[in-house]
């Protein structure tokens, strides 16, 4: 039962991953693509981590999965901000509204 639920979560997570990738390829500029990556991939990984955690063998594994998720989430948001900041500075002047 838990396995089925886990598999469903993993599948759902993959859908978000694919969405992130589609966004990365389709969206018009870097900032929009950043939206796609930080949000969709972040949630995708969270769902996959949850799914794997449901299938995990012991509490130790769950702890590590939680740690991984937490780290990816924090790093994702921070890196998103850093890239946006970098891109704004590299951008030609005049788009600051």
């Amino acid at each position: 039962m838990l396995d089925i639920l886990g598999a469903a979560l993993i599948g759902l997570g993959t859908v978000f991953f694919v969405a992130g990738t589609v966004g990365l390829l389709r969206f018009p500029d870097i900032f929009c693509r950043l939206h796609a990556l930080t949000k969709a991939d972040g949630l995708g990984l969270a769902l996959i981590a949850l799914g794997v955690a449901l299938m995990a063998d012991g509490a130790g594994d769950v702890v590590r999965i939680t740690l991984i998720w937490f780290f990816v989430a924090v790093a994702g948001a921070t890196c998103g901000h850093l890239i946006a900041r970098y891109a704004r500075r590299a951008m030609p002047e005049g788009r600051h509204d």
């Binding site: 740690l67 780290f71 924090v74 790093a75 921070t78 901000h81 850093l82 900041r85």
Partner: protein
């Protein structure tokens, strides 16, 4: 043949080869480095598929993480020194004439020939053939640790590993010797979000690195992987200028560089005696000794890798910020 995991393997292998080609053939060096880092990431994944998580860890942390940062730093230095840092056309540092098509074809042919020859030899060789499996399995109980790779590294073939640490020492001495007291390109300010991130995660990375070291006694991990993760903390500190090496830190740094080599070689010598030879740890103390060596070697590796990234010896010739 319809197993999706095999499709995954094929796709991964193809991506690895394609990335290898791409990272050598793109015009922009920055892209080449990004592709190279991706290449390292995917090779680490391949090694996971080949049931070699230790190797994957080492490759991800050292081969890709530290090496990638080193390459980026070098690229930035080259562009800064040659004054092309602000120019978009600084694609390649030493621009060369475009390669004529015949040369490319000749290269491709040579590459294909080597691949073919080696592949024939590879296909003709026994697979899952003879190896050390049985010998290692037999010797494991006397090794002092529960993880075969660590047992090989720190006990059965400790001599190799000592020399590997010596290679690191040689590298850091050579690098200190090569680069003189010139300043680096100025580092950008990273801002409040980064600071918050650093506060939260750098200490956690220290703990995770040490955890890998500790884990090495019974599962994938060990001194090199742990040391590399700890070195990542050093890299971040150096990159964000939270830590700026001072000339007065040189003495400590020297001791940290030689700590691993000295401890490893010292223990190897000290255990000799009473009918034992060098590197022959007494079985009842083997675990303690191995953990001791690993701990000290990890410190050395972390400091050395961070120093290799920083490059020059910190000397008080000029100010550390900006070119005078």
């Amino acid at each position: 043949m319809t197993d999706p995991v095999i499709i995954f393997d094929l796709l991964l292998a193809a991506a690895v080869v394609a990335l290898a080609v791409a990272s050598l053939s793109v015009r922009d060096l920055f892209v080449a480095i990004v592709l190279f880092i991706t290449f390292g990431l995917l090779s680490a994944l391949s090694w996971v598929r080949l049931a070699a998580p230790d190797v994957a860890l080492a490759e991800a942390a050292i081969g890709t993480g530290v090496t990638g940062a080193l390459l980026l730093k070098t690229l930035r230095h080259l562009r800064y020194v040659s004054g092309t840092l602000d120019r978009a056309e600084a694609l390649s540092v030493t621009p060369a004439a475009p390669v004529p098509a015949p040369v490319i074809w000749a290269n491709a042919a040579f590459c294909g020939l080597v691949t073919l020859g080696l592949a024939v030899a590879f296909l003709g060789a026994p697979r899952s053939g003879p190896g050390f499996d049985a010998l290692v399995a037999e010797a494991m109980p006397a090794s002092g640790v529960d993880h075969p790779v660590t047992a090989v590294l720190l006990n059965f073939r400790a001599y190799d590993t000592l020399m590997e640490v010596v290679v690191l020492l040689a590298a850091v001495i050579a690098v200190w010797q090569i680069e003189r007291g010139l300043s680096d390109a100025p580092a950008p300010v990273l801002g409040a979000v980064w600071e918050g991130f650093a506060r939260l995660t750098l200490p956690a990375i220290v703990v995770v690195g040490t955890y890998l070291l500790w884990k090495g006694a019974e599962a994938p991990g060990g001194a090199f992987q742990g040391g590399a993760v700890l070195a990542a903390v050093g890299l971040l500190l150096l990159l964000s200028r939270l830590y700026v090496p001072q000339p007065s830190h040189r003495g400590v740094a020297r001791w940290a560089f030689v700590l691993g080599t000295g401890a490893f070689a010292g223990v190897a010598l000290l255990v000799a005696g009473g009918g034992r030879v060098a590197f022959e740890y007494p079985p009842e103390h083997a675990k303690t000794l191995i953990l001791l060596i690993e701990g000290l070697v990890t410190i050395s590796i972390a400091v050395t890798l961070a120093a290799l990234f920083h490059g020059r010896e910190p000397v008080a010739l000029r100010s550390d910020r900006g070119r005078a």
